[in-house]
Symmetry: none
Subunit: 162 residues, 2 copies
């Protein structure tokens, strides 16, 4: 799995009263170069208190990988169950949301709570995927490198200034 277009960079955007957020243009660019969908897939991040996001093409790729794994392995009941569970997590526990012509999504209430997103959303490119954070939670997270927190602090100041 070698994707040629990678998510990178950071941005801090507002979440309005209706739960709308602009997806930063530089991330949308990657999404649309990877496939032609104007849609992102949201999921709870497996280890951090934030959301993980990617494009549908990446989701399909991941699914194909799972399928191949199943066909190869011995089909014992344990392997079968694990496959079921993974599939549920990969698809039922995610939401696909389209963004409109101005690049905004309506953050689904469930995801908003899972990611504990309030009125600010910090976007962080991580290569194959990107993350969406409540900036305060990132600052409070001990496993996040200080240099990255500095970026979050900078984005927050930047916004306060205007």
């Amino acid at each position: 799995m070698a994707l040629e277009h990678l998510f990178q960079g950071s941005a801090l955007n507002a979440v309005d009263a209706k739960g709308r957020v602009s997806i930063p243009a530089f991330l949308r660019g990657v999404i649309e170069r990877r496939g032609d969908a104007r849609t992102i897939v949201l999921a709870k991040h497996q280890s951090f208190p934030c959301l993980s996001a990617y494009d549908p093409a990446y989701a399909a790729l991941k699914h194909a990988k799972l399928e191949r794994l199943l066909e190869k392995e011995e089909t014992g009941p344990a392997a079968e169950l694990e496959y079921q569970q993974r599939n549920l997590m990969a698809f039922a526990a995610t939401e696909e949301v389209p963004y409109d012509s101005s690049g905004r999504i309506l953050m689904p209430p469930m995801m908003r709570r899972k990611g504990q997103i309030s009125d600010l959303a910090l976007f962080l490119g991580t290569g194959e995927t990107f993350q969406i954070w409540n900036p305060q939670l990132l600052l409070d997270e001990s496993r996040i490198p200080e240099d990255l927190k500095d970026i979050a602090r900078f984005r927050l100041e930047e916004r306060r200034a205007s």
Copy 2:
């Protein structure tokens, strides 16, 4: 088998007094993109106490796959029997139901009993197919990951709130 349109997401819908249920719009979208039928196929899930559902196009695909498998493998009596059984399950034990212009099906009584669906139906996308659960049974099922149960709980709360 690489399908381009995958079932994804979750929703909790009401089953009314007549046994009618709305198929969530985002699942119908996938069904209609895969083929042009406004119909779903229902079956008892093979390992969970819920229903498995998909579109007619997928049923055909699945059948073709079974056929190919039979031709490849040595045709001993054991393999032959397994083929017969799987074919029975895939076709006799399923029901095809159309949904109306507002996207509702009339849940067949047999399926309703098999899936133990009462007045709420939890829809879970799982990629190639989707599942329909009695939400309470999902919460009681030990083989379901806790993260997924959280989603079920959220959907239940969401409904209670309104």
